[in-house]
Symmetry: C2
Subunit: 141 residues, 2 copies
DNA sequence: CTTGAACCTCTACCTACTGTAGCTTGTAAG
DNA sequence: CTTACAAGCTACAGTAGGTAGAGGTTCAAG
């Protein structure tokens, strides 16, 4: 049986985060010692490792909840799992596209700035006047 | 003089967001009507447009605060502005790199899944076993 | 003068955690 | 067996950057 600290260390998680996952129902309530300290088994370790890995791949906690539910029903079609992963892929691709547009605009902005006082700063000028932008960077960050 | 709703509409901001910016000191407290409603002038419009544009380029509110301060001192060197914009560019590039690694891993994961039940799902298997990953996607999301 | 859209304040909520305060438990050394 | 102290406990507050709603007031058009 593992203490919360050991579990956290083994999965690269912070202790508070483990308790947080329990609080939001992502991890089951573990057994306790007589004194009230949490004690974990191997299934908890596996589950937490799964969660952390999925988080590293950018899945939201809600998506992870779905994946864990699916994982608990081995007989079901894996189409749902596929759907969730595809959705995640799409989200990642959207974010990449958007960030690439930002990169382009920032580079252009920086490339044009040659004067030396704020009064003539091209960067500030671009920020002041959206119309000076070439790329669309409309929604969200 | 503009009402908060008009100001919001002209800058593509929500009314609550305008009040939020005022609350955190990013926008100055505007004049009020006798009845207590906010009334804005052109300088507020410019300032808010600047903020929104910088937000669209991914600058944090703290960075924007710095940029606005610099913008208010036209005689200063624009090196500081450059530094902030460069930092932002670097952050964007880091995020792109990271997301590209995620995309690669997600694609690989999805490409390998051909079985049809959750029990054999390659996606879940990869999530269960970090060692099955090729790419490093260690820190943050 | 009436109506109702738009405004007001205040508070709570979102994601995914992280940090702190003040107290208790577990464990290893002496 | 006692003591020291790391690690655990709960509860609450805070982070970024807003968003949503309740419950009440004001403005402006007709």
């Amino acid at each position: 049986m593992l203490s919360i600290g050991t579990l956290a260390k083994r999965t690269g998680t912070k202790v508070q985060t483990v308790r947080y996952y329990e609080q939001i129902g992502l991890l089951p309530e573990p057994g306790r010692t007589e004194g009230g300290q949490r004690r974990y088994g191997d299934s908890d370790l596996d589950r937490l490792a799964f969660i952390r890995h999925a988080r590293q791949l950018g899945f939201t906690l809600d998506a992870i909840r779905e994946l864990l539910d699916l994982s608990d029903n081995p007989g079901r079609s894996c189409a749902d799992v596929d759907r969730i992963a595809h959705r995640q892929l799409k989200e990642v691709e959207v974010r990449i596209t958007r960030l690439e547009a930002l990169r382009k605009e920032l580079k252009r902005m920086l490339g044009e700035c040659s004067r030396d006082t704020v009064a003539d700063c091209r960067v500030l000028e671009v920020l002041r006047d959206h119309a000076a932008c070439l790329t669309d960077h409309g929604q969200g960050a």
